[in-house]
Assembly symmetry: C2
Homo-oligomer: 187 residues x 2
DNA sequence: AAATCTTTTCATTTTTTATTGAAAAATTTG
DNA sequence: CAAATTTTTCAATAAAAAATGAAAAGATTT
């Protein structure tokens, strides 16, 4: 686990005196450590994200924003989670890419602020579309080309292999149906 | 990617002369390289497995067995996929643990033989039960304890935080419903 | 348009995960 | 029950993934 986040999650560590490199300290001054509630929710989001194959820092950012009553800047995110500039930037980019997080206009603020999408329907819908469906289609295309490779197999196996490939195609088709069912459930 | 599997997938490489360490050469003699069809299906299984968070070698083993008209021994799996003893042993263990592969009795054979479970209903059902459901329950337990942490938050935020936590609990409940729906679809 | 501030990029470093293979354990055979 | 064979375990290594932070690029202000 990212040791900085581990630290942020476990120890109510005191904030380091030095500003993170390349950015000047937040105007407000001290960044408070994560509260117990925040630690829990950030941890939860990290685990949930990992199931979907996201880096821990990405889940952590989402968790922090989800529990924040006001939009946060990238700098605040960095400081509170104790992650680097690069992680914060890339994590936010990834979260924006599937609309789990959106930039919000904050009047008079120079820095960009972010807030979490809290409609999980949308979140999950996007994920199913972008990730799962894409994979299914890719697999479907591959499967199409396989039948003709059977000719290169020993004659004795061909019928059996044909059955197996057919079964794979059924699975693909059923997976699409299941996906559609899930989409309906979410709507 | 595991370079040996990469090799096995791409080059119709000639079998190495030396027997793999610790095992004497297969009685039948030469192990044929993967056929084009096998290469495709093994690759497909690797990718599918990765979506579920499995190591590539595990997906590869399943793919090879899925396309094999007869049960294979661990040694045959090692040789054909060109993976190590340890990977084969651990991969088979993992596959057996969620019943994607089962040992088959082959009369007169000393070595254990394996075949792939080809009923994807069962496979997916097991996966949903063991992995997804377990995670949901874990998350559910965590969520239960969070409400009392709200007391430690600034009073001004408490109502808002309560709403957010409530939403999370709804999501958890809905996810369970969705899981039940999927189970019904599979049956 | 120079200076200042903010964000992105990306080569390097760190961390995590997967693989290997020798040794230990278990099993089977004679 | 000893020898031979097969399977599992696990410490070491290799490969892959994530995080870091300095430098480049992009904005905004004065």
């Amino acid at each position: 686990m990212l040791s900085a986040i581990k630290t942020a999650l476990q120890a109510p560590a005191r904030r380091s005196r030095n500003a993170p490199s390349g950015l000047r300290p937040n105007a407000q001054g001290a960044t408070p450590p994560l509260s117990p509630l925040e630690r829990e929710v950030v941890g939860l989001a990290m685990r949930a994200g990992q199931i979907l194959g996201l880096p821990k820092s990405v889940g952590a950012i989402y968790g922090l924003l989800y529990l924040s009553p006001r939009p946060l800047t990238m700098e605040e995110i960095m400081e509170r989670l104790r992650i680097s500039l690069g992680s914060a930037s890339q994590g936010l980019r990834q979260l924006r890419s599937f609309k789990a997080v959106r930039p919000v206009y904050v009047p008079g603020a120079r820095r960009e602020h972010f807030e979490a999408e809290d409609q999980f329907r949308k979140l999950i819908g996007n994920f199913l579309d972008d990730e799962v469906n894409a994979q299914l289609e890719l697999a479907g295309e591959h499967l199409g080309g396989l039948a003709k490779l059977i000719e290169h197999e020993p004659a004795a196996n061909r019928d059996w292999l044909r059955q197996r490939l057919e079964k794979l195609e059924n699975v693909n088709a059923n997976a699409r149906r299941l996906l559609a069912l899930m989409a309906r459930f979410l709507a």
